[in-house]
């Protein structure tokens, strides 16, 4: 499944590979630019480290999973989340860049939601962290709107024709989080245990949450 990240296709007759080309040359150029910007006093290297640390270790799909788990466990919170996601999510401590305006869309037995950004790669950073490579790929961006069921099948999710697929193309600064269906067999589980079940893909809409 990780074919897109191998570097075994060269530039010459390459496939449409999207990641990791010319890695070492780019690394050198990035280092040179950072060095120049630091020398000019335009950026603070400690701030750069702090930004990297924020997205490397603090902000990721675990945040979204906690939101989902609480919504499953707390009907009042779920109602608030579906009514005003931005404030409900901020109440859990998650807010800001690329999640300034949040909407949560709920999967049900008859509705399946799928999030994409066809024009770039908009994604709800505060709750899911940085997007995976596949979400940013031309394949996903191009196909999610015209062939969502085909994309879902590739993710192993074959939906019956009568289940409505709702695709959310993030064309503005509204960011979407899918509230997946709570799986059977999770009665009585704590919110923390429930959060362990919730995958990133289930909150994008390319997967369901599997029963434990």
């Amino acid at each position: 499944m990780s074919k897109g990240h191998d570097s075994d296709h060269g530039h010459d007759h390459g496939q449409d590979h999207e990641e990791h080309s010319a890695l070492s040359e780019t690394a050198l150029r990035v280092r040179a630019l950072e060095s120049l910007l630091v020398e000019k006093g335009l950026v603070d290297p400690a701030a750069l480290d702090a930004i990297v640390d924020a997205y490397q270790s603090k902000i990721g799909p675990r945040n979204g999973a906690r939101i989902v788990a609480r919504a499953w466990s707390d009907p009042a919170y779920k109602a608030q989340l579906l009514k005003d996601a931005t404030s409900a999510i901020a109440g859990m401590g998650y807010s800001g860049a690329q999640g300034e305006h949040m909407v949560v869309v709920e999967n049900t037995p008859s509705v399946h939601n799928l999030v994409v950004c066809t024009l770039c790669s908009c994604y709800p950073w505060p709750v899911l962290g940085l997007p995976p490579v596949w979400y940013k790929s031309s394949a996903y961006r191009s196909r999610a709107v015209i062939d969502p069921r085909g994309v879902l099948r590739e993710f192993g999710l074959a939906l019956p024709d009568e289940v409505a697929v709702r695709v959310w193309d993030s064309t503005a600064e509204i960011r979407y989080l899918v509230l997946p269906e709570r799986p059977a067999g999770t009665e009585g589980m704590t919110a923390e245990a429930l959060a362990d079940l919730v995958t990133r893909d289930s909150m994008i809409g390319t997967a369901k949450v599997a029963a434990p």
């Binding site: 499944m1 990791h20 701030a47 066809t118 996903y140 196909r143 503005a172």
Partner: protein
């Protein structure tokens, strides 16, 4: 612009290929590009829409060939040069022009998390009244702006329904050109998949986009 970035509905890019246990960054330089772009952005010499447009205007063959962070890197160089924060000579030599005084970075380490948590909301107070109401039928305009726009080609000319009113938001088309925020009402518009793609689409499926008033006409 009808750029290569506007790829909704295109065929030919092959299967979606998820990576198991994907790391946040695939190489340290990717993280540095993310951080450089964010820290340089703190100078507020460009905005998010101009930033997006700088990626959209990469040569199309490069747009498809480069990785996400490679595109970000090429874009931040364009933005830095365009804003005059860096000169072409400095970029070529890698050394500061000694005639330019050393600056003081606006973003320091202590301000990083507060800045991330604050974000940059785009909703704006307005005394204007929304032109459309929830449930109203609208048609996406058949316009083809040459500059930045967030109206994808695949919905232009198509009939949809107003599903949600998000209030007035910064208008990307003008903001990307540094011609002002010109806030206007933003709506989620629902389109039937069959309206967008024809009779072979599933009749119960829908596609939802967030579209500004200037993108819409009453149907």
């Amino acid at each position: 612009m009808n750029g290569i970035h506007d790829m909704g509905g295109m065929h030919g890019f092959g299967p979606v290929e998820p990576e198991a246990n994907e790391p946040v960054f695939h190489a340290p330089w990717e993280a540095r590009v993310l951080a450089l772009r964010r820290a340089a952005g703190a100078w507020r010499r460009w905005n998010i829409d101009a930033g997006r447009h700088s990626i959209e205007t990469l040569p199309p063959a490069d747009y498809l060939r480069l990785t996400y962070y490679e595109k970000w890197f090429e874009s931040v160089i364009k933005l830095l040069l365009g804003a005059g924060l860096v000169t072409p000579q400095e970029l070529a030599s890698g050394r500061r022009d000694p005639a330019v005084p050393v600056a003081t970075p606006p973003l320091t380490a202590d301000k990083v998390m507060p800045a991330i948590l604050a974000g940059s909301p785009t909703v704006r107070a307005t005394s204007a009244k929304p032109r459309f109401t929830v449930g109203q039928a609208v048609r996406a305009r058949g316009i083809n702006p040459g500059g930045h726009t967030r109206l994808p080609r695949y919905v232009r000319g198509r009939l949809g329904t107003i599903e949600c009113d998000h209030g007035a938001h910064v208008f990307p088309d003008s903001n990307a050109r540094f011609e002002g925020e010109k806030p206007q009402f933003l709506y989620t518009v629902r389109f039937a998949a069959r309206e967008l793609w024809g009779e072979t689409a599933n009749p119960v499926d829908t596609v939802h986009l967030d579209l500004w008033e200037d993108y819409l006409d009453a149907a």
